[in-house]
């Protein structure tokens, strides 16, 4: 059983339904969304997102050898774009109990242990992309 699973994993399973991982590698950058929070203007550092969640995404991009291109907006704008495939990942105060979970895939917690559980959102069904991200987060934590 275990051997079989190892073989399957080696064959590149799980794959993405809409090929996000391959697209990002080909494109050379991650299309990331950062939710602007009115209560926390410090999260924008001279126009580009800063803070722990932004660092995780940048770090992940680095591990893949690609860049990050940020798009800043409201949660509903960014989530809709993510759902339609216009973005690859969204961060910024998203909780694992987010009502968006019916429309997007939510990752394992990305915030440091002991802090409120913040997660990243990816497009639904992009399981390879999600697994890769979670592996990176796991190694980082």
């Amino acid at each position: 059983m275990l051997v079989l699973l190892l073989i399957l994993t080696a064959c590149g399973m799980p794959r993405d339904i809409e090929h996000t991982t391959e697209d990002v590698e080909e494109r050379g950058y991650i299309r990331a969304g950062a939710v602007v929070r009115a209560a926390d203007p410090s999260s924008l550092d001279g126009g580009s997102p800063a803070g722990y969640e932004a660092d995780v995404v940048s770090g992940y991009a680095e591990s893949l050898g690609v860049e990050v291109r940020w798009e800043v907006g409201s949660e509903s704008e960014l989530m809709t774009a993510l759902e339609e495939g216009g973005l690859d990942i969204v961060v910024g105060g998203i909780e694992s109990s987010s009502p968006w979970s019916k429309h997007v895939g939510l990752s394992a917690p990305i915030s440091p242990q002991g802090t409120p559980h913040l997660v990243a959102a990816v497009r639904q069904g992009e399981n390879r992309w999600l697994l890769g991200f979670e592996r990176y987060v796991g190694a980082r934590r």
């Binding site: 399973m13 895939g105 697994l131 592996r135 796991g138």
Partner: protein, 315 residues
Amino acid sequence: MRIGHIHELPTDRQGDLESAHRFAWLTIAFMVSAITVLYLTLGSSQAMKAAWIEDLASLVPPISFLVASRFADRPPDEEHPFGLHRSVSIAYLFSSVALFGLGLFILTDSLLKLVSREHPTIGSVTLFGHTIWLGWLMIAALGYTIAPAVLLGMRMLPLASRLHDKSLYAIAKMLKADWSTAAAGITGILGIGLGLWWADGVAAIFISFDISRDGWTNSRTAARELADGQPRLVDGSAVDPLRSRLQTELEKVGWVRRAHVRVRDEGHVFFAEALVVPAGKVDARLVEQTIDDMLTIDWRLHQLAITPVETIEIE
């Protein structure tokens, strides 16, 4: 003529009933473990959800079997002059309808998800420092449910025949068929792994269709039994030969010229009534003797009433 507390089962089958009880408890224990394991790995796979609901629904038949068999052998009383044999059929109908309802629910749910082209997202878990895809754990959990279910089902099937218990038969069949649920679930997860968004939904539809079909056939059998339909063999494959056998045996009796027998299935046991055209004058002692003789031809024949009549006209 003795009426009152007569045990349903002959002493040589009492042991079978005890084994059936043990297996019912084992089934419940196994199902609870399967439900827990599947719940822990549920994720957002619809096929897993369907398999989980199937296991949840599978708890109802063994529980209602155990509950019903507490009542079935109770002695008749003022309120229940025929005893409580039918509690078996009521439990059977109840669990079949539950199965059917759950099947339909999950079938609709799966169809809606497929139509709205929902893409199942399955993340990862960290086990012993390794982050692995949750899909692999789901497959392992489904795989775990196969062997015990099939083994339990295979052991319970012969008991169901020996006890003439249709609900036990349905449980055994359901357990034996459990491997196809697990196989469908595993195929669905592998499909997701290959990036096929529809694989999960199709597997879920397959599973839920199976649950509904089981529920539907069993509800029909149970309803037919409660409506005093012609008793059938425990697997439902044919009419039970007891009625024609009883009629033949009765017509062999000296004082009987003609007989017409009707049999009711009361769960584990049969109640029969016979219209009899006597060859001469009716001797009450002979009638009672005949009843006693007839009750020995099959343990499932629990009570027999003989009504002597002048003619029998079947319209």
